[in-house]
Amino acid sequence: MTTHRQPRLAARREALYAWAFVAPSLIGFLVFFAVPSIRGLLMSFTDWDLLRPAKFVGVANYVRLLGDADFRHALKVTAYYVILNIPIQTMLALGMAVMMDKFSKSTIIRGILVLPWLLPNIVVALIWLWLLDPTMGFLNQIIMGLGFQRQPFLGSIDQAMPTIAAINIWRHAGYTAILIYAGLQTIPKELYEAAAIDGANERQKFLGITIPLLRPVLVFVLVTTIIGSFQIFDTIAITTKGGPVDATRVVYWYIYEYAFVRFKMGYATTISVALFAILITITFIQMRYFNANSSDLD
């Protein structure tokens, strides 16, 4: 009889411990994420303007969103940024990680690589804003010193978005490289030795061993950087404020503009909900497509 009760009591105590450990992050999740999200969702069905009491307007905001050409433009501009940002940043990071793995295990070099990432986004944006200034910027002084026409960079419709993408690649590539570098450490060295004995060259080893075994880490890196990339805001808020005209008016800036410039909180949250749905879909597809939960090492 007593032998029955003993494991149950232990199990109950174990569960209690488990909840105790989960509680801090669970409460954090509820307070800082779940509740605001639900309130945001509710807000998207109102016409709240911050000061007057909110009025329920049904799905009017969503109907408006479907016909909003500016929103479609914002999505296009955001997608353009992601396409400029992610492939180059990931390739660069992968290259840097493999180099580090091969040639240097020095923590100093690793430290230098993450340095741009350690700087606050605002500082990075401000530094580049000054360096890239169309008239007084340091970079333009160099360009003119070499005998070329000075460039408007952030001041031109065509150059603004590539410039912002370049700034963020500079900031994030090192950090992404460190993540991939960590992933490289999990690949057993015997595999490379075995491949070498079989006569595989560096390229074959890279494509046949490194990339497939790195897949879970790469997927993680891609999922997080793509989400982060869709959420581009601070660099734009500091440098171009969505301009020139609407060349860098990404979704996040568009949301900000509606919320805090036009004071249409209801519509702003509607756009946020739409962006949330888009990001969930993209992440889901990525996880499915890359089979992120299984590793080829097993």
Binding site: V35, L50, L51, G155, F263
Partner: protein, 466 residues
Amino acid sequence: MRSRINALAFALMVITSMLLVACGAKAPAAEPTTAPDAAAAPAATAAPSTEAVTIRYGLWDGNQQPAYEACAAAFTKTNPNITVKVEQAGWGDYWNGVQTGMVSDTAPDVFTNHLAKYPEFASKQQLVDLKPFIDRDGVDTKQYLAGLADLWGRDGKTYGLPKDWDTIAVVYNQDMLDKAGVTVDELNNAEWNAKDGGSFSQIIKKLTVDANGKNALDKDFDKTKVVQYGFIPGGGGGAYGQTQWSHWAVSNGFKFNDGLYATKYYYDDPKLAETIQWYANLNLVDGVAPALADIKSLGANALFTGGKGALTTDGSWMIGAYTKDTKFKVGFARLPKGPEGRKSMFNGLADSIWVGSKHQEESWQWLKFASSPACENIVGSYGVVFPAVQSGVDAALAAYKAKGLDVSAYTAQATEANGTFLFPVTDHASEIGPIMDAMMDSIMLGQKTAADGLKEGNDQVNALFK
């Protein structure tokens, strides 16, 4: 197992509902501030409060902060129990702060208000109606320069008392004029039209110099190598073009709308289109003005004081910014005479009281003092802005004169018959702004013609009123 999940679910529900209650509780607390209740009406007799009170006063122009701090000190001398704390923040941060402050119950008691902003605050019931106070204390609103007080009323209510005003004039670099052989007299008597820019355009061209020392009137002028621009535009100017294009457009016969609280704009007027096209073409076609990217990066003021160009147009509140520490002599000339004469926007600021203020009576006492000759004479003596009462203007003129500055181009414009038009005050300003900002910039960058862009912008703006 089952009961454990239920217990957990119950616990979560309790936590969540507590949070919701906690969040929701803020709204009712803010209720009294949003309701236009009787608290806003002053007591029949001002209760002489003896309790020590601190009033927070917000403004965005850093140049005026010392002047208002002097006013505040003078005020506290006669009202020992009231201390005024002057809080300053730059234009963008200032309005963010005021707006979010109203939501979070931390906005300043009294704050400097703008004509493009106050109708929205008023319609959201954030401003105290000053009319009962004015009537009670018998404040004479005729003491202000003509038209200024009227801008701050709607439907029998008053939301601000005028504190200052401004007009627009041409700012010139004396050295560059001398070198090109242009006299100030020529500049003061220049004429302008939207077709070819008139004699003003000729002056601009004469003042534009390329790397080979040739001016823009020369056949061999190379507009890709300009070292000195004849004119520095203030940028796209957005919905009102206050210092940028409004004076050109109105002197060409354009009007924004049909007056206070109009519900229709006329941005599609061909007279505006030809004006804006002329303005954009200064850079796009003629090469006598810097590109929008350059203007946006530094601002027209910095380009001018950095010696990049000879002329610009700007408001009277900027006099100090142009003359202080500038390495060359700067002067102010009249706006050129357009087809309809010389026209400048006449804009005025006023102080408003936020409904959330816990000390509305004391706030009124301060506001009344700040917009009275006693304070405006002090502000005028600092020579940073033209106060709204004549004695203050005289004090300002004396202060400018003491600094060796002739600013009569601004005052002459203000006093000239039909020399001014008022800032367009309507609803939806916070939405009109972003629409027209983007539209004007795209015209300035040559993405759209003025005619197309303004038509498109006008449709979007007028749709807001439907």
